[in-house]
Amino acid sequence: MLSRVAERVYWLARYLERVENTARLINVHTGLLMDLPRDVEIDWFTLVTIFDAEMFYHANFEQINENNVMQFLLAEPNNPISLLNSLSAVRENARTSLDILPEETWEQVNELYLLVKNEMAAISNRRRRQQLLLTIMERCQTVWGILVNHMSRNHAYHFMQTAKHLERADMTSRILEMTSLLMAENRSESMRAAEGILWTHLLRALSAQQMYTQTYSSSVNADGVLTFLIRDEAFPRSLFFSLKAIGRYLWPLPQAASTLEHHQKIMSEMFNENLKELPAEMIYTRMDELQAKLAELSSQISQKWFHPDRSVA
């Protein structure tokens, strides 16, 4: 498999996962804000902080309001992680990998891109925006469906799955950062009153509510949610599951030993301590560290398989 092609399908998969996760997070967050009283510490701008995009935001917008935040996260050309930019990256990578992906992949991706681009004018309308976000999630799942059901389990597939789980772990860790707000000692009374809704919100942002309920058959609480989203071995969006999957898909790649070692180190650092017992702000720090480690793993993958001829800086 060509190094350049490996790089393209890797990023195709990362961006595809990012598009779906972004759509879901915004969709669920909109629902949450409808339920919350005005004076809680969570608002539209919380979304921007989840993506660590405060700087980009302030460079493009003065006011913080629903319209601007949505414009920024969905359509803004100057925001490198805006949904439309991510989707456009999916499309470019699909377009340049036509020869190794199932034929329908490109058609689906292209169709979705054209649809989203046309609908962007209407995102200030909350109803149409929510509808669009649902469509985006569905279509992303269609693309994954095609890939999973039509692709040989070759290296292209391994790179795509590695990328998907890496991106997913990154997103899960970002959403878990919100726990620092939810568990803060000095949180407001309104926030304490809305606890149930908020923890459910974390689950929903990761499509985890139903599986959580099946697993725990108890009410949603901080302990349960943290354990489920961090350590659950069966739920495909928990940190444990995603990180383990990264190892599984790295394993068949050529000369993977040193990368696997690196991956193993991330796993043990992450799961050898009991996160539940940490104070809230430490969870935030751990998640931040994890994101940095995942970024490092990604650049190691890039160096080993995509650009072996580039000298190590």
Partner: protein, 487 residues
Amino acid sequence: MMQLWRDYDPGEFYDELMYDQHQPRHFSYKLLDYLKSMRKEAFAQRIVDSELEILERGITFTVYSDAGNIDRAWPFDIIPRIIPKGEWDCTEKGLVQRIRALNMFINDIYNDGNIIRDGLIPEDVVLQSKGYRPQCKGMQPAHGIWAHICGSDLVRDDSGTMYVLEDNLRVPSGVAYMLENRKTTKRVLPELFKLLHISPVNDYPSHLSAMLASLAPDDVSHPKMVLLTPGIYNSAYFEHAALAQQAGLILLEGADLTVGNDGYVYMKTIHGLERVDVIYRRIDDDFIDPLVFREDSTLGIPGIMQAWREGKVAIANAPGCGVADDKVIYAYVPAMIRYYLNEEPLLPNVPTWMCRDPHQLQHVLDNLPDLVVKPANESGGYGMLVGPHSSEEKIEEFRQLLIADPNNYIAQPTLKLSVSPTSCGDHIAPRHVDLRPFILSGKNNYVTPGGLTRVALVKGSLVVNSSQGGGSKDTWIVDDSHFGGLN
């Protein structure tokens, strides 16, 4: 839908589907009956469906213009063009005959030069061809074949005679669009395939793959085959990707390849370097190897020409094959067929005046307003004069060009190109068409049944090139042996 056809009139032109204003040809009446039975709105809906299909499947080509490079949806007309199989069988034989002679010619001029020595073609005609590459002298590619993939342009005049207008031997494009056109027709007008038996075209990629495999160096049993593209900004990138996907070739760019110390060609993979045996290149000779041709080329692979000369890699089409893709050499093809094959040409050339000959030049200058003048080495319809459609200033401009550089031009009569019913907004009208079949030559020959029909969408226009506003049609070879009736 009848009202769409009410004013249909091919006039003085040969119509591919009609004998005259009212009478469909014996092989097209089923198609036309079906189309005419549709309600106007239903027909319009099928057109919308086809446009959507093409847009969503991302079938595009790029137009290079002053306004930047624009990705355009592939222009497709849903009314197919039909050629009866009986006629097509003869055309196919003629195409194979022609490409055999052309390959023998290319092999001859880079080796023994018999045809020059025997006085059939002047040496300076060969040397003036922009595609001539002295670096290819003495080379003997597998099976003696240089032009493995040829896209000939065929046109019909008002008598219905099919002529060869050009032999595109360098990097002919369009075959993927032929495949896409058929897919679109199948999705948009599936009922039609019940009415008629239409020769399938979708096995082209497997023939391409088999042909390329037949070029691999002898010691290789499972050749690694790649398609070399200039990249995503090339106008035919969609085609490159589609062909690679369907023929099982690895799609790559020059930067993915390197020539090793052992002189073999390798691609850069996640396993390290892997040897490549056959390269289907879609970049021009000029750019293929900066050590041999254009030094400023960043698309090519330094050292690849040496690897090819040593037989360590096969390249299709072979470097240097463009020598025969020249409008002056074109005039000699019938002579080549007689010389190399000792056969009479089955497909005629368009009568051609060579401006290098002072008598013929005089004739051309005297009749410029009636003629088509073409530079020897341009493609895509650029830099040519269509006398009857040009202003006096334009004609004068060409007169000066011809006098200054007669060797670089040929002239031909303005053919009354055939027309075919084409949907033009609120009505069906006759529009001029040509045809580009694709001929594969390796160990064996293969000709696509039909090919890519291009149509000039503007009324009266003869320019069918998609880069200049032309459209395209699905092309059907239909078995007419059981139809009987008029012929």
